[in-house]
């Protein structure tokens, strides 16, 4: 937290380090593992690639889904990956096994599974689907603990808070809601406008704030206990796709997001001004992920691009 009177360190720009080509169709999601050693990229080509975060070489390819994969999530110990696919299933994979082994398949959703996340204890998985429901699954047995008829349109985003007691969900129906994990009941409705659609929602690292993206080119940071938004970030283009955004905390605090104008945008968290626009992708940037400890960003491009790009800050 910069206190008044103190100069914030000058912003160091990110530059493109490498282009990773490992997919044959649009890449839908990229995520660094919690220990920072691995990077997973999911694609509409039905596969997930695991890259080494240090060497940026392709380590394994997870094959098994029968339709495109929309989202991928890491367990806290970086051992397991969970994928959400248009084939209506979620799969849990062992990230360490050389062959990229699928350990479990979670069935229950009746339409495309669009988003997925582990809780920090990694004993639960939450998934959101085009069947308008949110499901909470027990990792060990694969049993579905709750099926929540959460929205009236596809669920675009689900995320646990720090201690796993709450789930935030966003949907095309324009609402963003908070659920109690233990009982599966709705605790709060943050946004309830029909338009614009909520395309992404996630808790801040300390679980006090929620970053919400809506399909009117806007990102807002909400304090969910007061139900008021505190910051607005704009300048990017987001009218059509469920672009993911995230917090960058390794060297100053920023909000990072993809955009439909083929750039990655970075804004200063407090001052809301755009600090950099990363150019290079040749298609919509649908997903971004920040390395947990290094100043490294990974971004994924849709159909016209099909690449994963790595950006780093010079020392």
């Amino acid at each position: 937290m910069a206190s008044s009177g103190q100069e914030a360190p000058p912003y160091k720009p990110y530059r493109q380090l490498k282009i990773l080509r490992g997919h044959e169709r649009a890449v839908s999601c990229v995520k660094f593992s919690n220990d920072g050693t691995l990077l997973a990229s999911a694609s509409l080509d039905k596969t997930v690639v695991i890259w080494s975060s240090a060497t940026l070489s392709l380590l394994h390819r997870l094959v098994g889904h029968s339709e495109g994969v929309s989202d991928v999530a890491w367990s806290s110990d970086s051992h397991y990956i969970c994928t959400a696919s248009d084939d209506r299933t979620l799969r849990i994979w062992d990230a360490r096994s050389p062959g990229g082994e699928c350990v479990k398949t979670l069935r229950g959703h009746s339409n495309f599974v669009f988003c997925v996340n582990f809780n920090s204890q990694s004993n639960l998985i939450v998934s959101g689907s085009f069947d308008d429901t949110i499901r909470v699954w027990e990792v060990k047995t694969g049993k579905c603990l709750h099926t929540i008829r959460a929205h009236s349109m596809p669920v675009t985003s689900v995320h646990f808070n720090r201690d796993g007691s709450l789930i935030v969900s966003g949907s095309h129906d324009g609402s963003c809601k908070i659920w109690d994990t233990a009982s599966g009941t709705c605790l709060k409705t943050l946004i309830d406008d029909k338009v614009p659609a909520v395309s992404f929602a996630k808790f801040s690292p300390n679980g006090k704030f929620i970053l919400v993206a809506t399909l009117n080119d806007t990102l807002k940071l909400w304090n969910y206990s007061t139900g008021r938004f505190l910051k607005v970030y704009a300048g990017h283009v987001n009218k059509e796709y469920c672009i993911t955004s995230t917090f960058s905390v390794t060297n100053g605090k920023y909000i990072v997001s993809g955009s439909e104008d083929r750039c990655v945008y970075l804004w200063d968290l407090q001052h809301k001004n755009m600090v950099q626009k990363l150019e290079g992708h040749t298609g919509t940037v649908i997903s971004v992920s920040c390395h947990p400890t290094e100043n490294k960003i990974a971004s994924a491009g849709l159909d016209n691009d099909i690449s994963v790009r790595i950006w780093v800050q010079d020392a």
Partner: protein
Amino acid sequence: MVGVSTVDPLQGDFPEVIEEYLEHGVMKCIAFNRRGTLLAAGCSDGSCVIWDFETRGIAKELKDKECSAAITSVCWSKYGHRILVSAADKSLTLWDVVSGEKITRTTLQQTSLQARLHPGSSTPSLCLACPLSSAPMIVDLDTGNTTVLPVSIPDAGAGAAPPPKNKFSDVTPSFTPTAACFNKSGDVVYVGNSKGEVLLVDYKSAQVRAMVPTSGGAVIKNIVFCRNGQYLLTNSNDRTIRIYENLLLSKDGLKALDELSEATEGQDDVEKLKAVGLKCLTLFREFQDSITKMHWKAPCFSGDGEWVIGGSASKGEHKIYIWDRGGHLVKILEGPKEALIDLAWHPVHPIIVSVSLTGLVYIWAKDYTENWSAFAPDFKELEENEEYVEREDEFDLIPETEKAKEINANEDDEVDIVTVEKDSAFSDSDMSQDELCFLPAIPSPDMAEQQEKCIESSSKLVDSNNSGSPLSEEGEPNGGAMNHASSPLEEDAGVARLKRKRRPSEKGMELQAEKVRKPLKSSARSSKLKNKSLVDEDTSNGFNGDDVSDEYH
């Protein structure tokens, strides 16, 4: 007094109904880890099963061929790395929780009714064992050495008064199980003997340092501290639970006792010990059921020490009495007609867990009430009816207040997205980074046949306590959302659970508790939504306040 409460049950933070039950073999005794994220249960077949209390699934099983006798007690080490079980074959086994491996096994001369690990250390080697019919002892699990603790003060001679003889204390010490427990820091053992005396024992020297008699001198069956060490309870044969305030609150209990001894005068040893005792414990309250004159079983405190619970020791009855610390009976929980054999209050949440003679573990929680203000951002629940006063600009086309709301949006205040507040529920802030709160959930691999048989089960759950909410719709629209189904593909056989709505977490209760006095406003928009998804989807849902969201029921 049955059924009558002097305190409004709606105001208290204690459970009300059975939420769920856990089944795995025949469980006999239970213990929560420090944070209540794991529940260990000792079984009749000698194994100890650890439940993940969040998922209500089994996280680990501790068992080996050598011990197949029923477990009599189970105890966690302070930060959850070790579990000690005592079994009916006179053994004490110490387990490493994460690896599931046995560390040591010691066999004593008698079966222990209870064994407690030293509370001060994260890898304790000492434990306090209370055998079936002899004095409690300290057992060194590494060496097997035992130190028998004194259970009475030797008579000081002619001056001592004879022990009171009434029908509650006619059993001689050597044949009565004597209750004992460590204090919070583990340097003093509190022994409750058959003469109704509480002895403070320095176990290193096996010496009694203080004595507190209880009125009536009835045999003490249980002696338990609350988590923060401020209160002690005794459960005696005269059907009374007594609460004492602990006056020795410093971390070094022995030093405090030394100082008190120095400062206290006494005609003889017994008098001196009693005098020191007066400065260690003072009687705060006594609880009894004067009508049914019930014997109590497995009494204990709630996590914050505000409540005391005791189970009815009558056969065929599963009753849990809840008192506030001031002695008022606030609730009686009544379960199925099966005797209650063990009881525990969750360290953090208002949840009680009870074990029945049939081997089932019942989870008691608050009855969930619908939160109407959750369904739209502007909904606020009101405590009572309010006169609605229109705002000056209420019917303006562009009300001033709406404009003001927009301006507030771009505040320049700093937000802190990283700092996490300390957990205030735990007073000992020596937060060991090493605390074991969770066992890693390793997904068990699917079996080939299961993948084929995976069909959605649409069986509805038996839920007799369902508080019918007008929002819960019958039938499944869109063929999509199913109610939580009791899956036919259980991997752990016999883990059938009766599941009802679970109560929201504390955070949930906080969010629910916001009761701002604002007039109710419902958003009344009904514009259709443009299709904005990657794939074409059905978008024909019109807006209806009731449909927007609901719980899964």
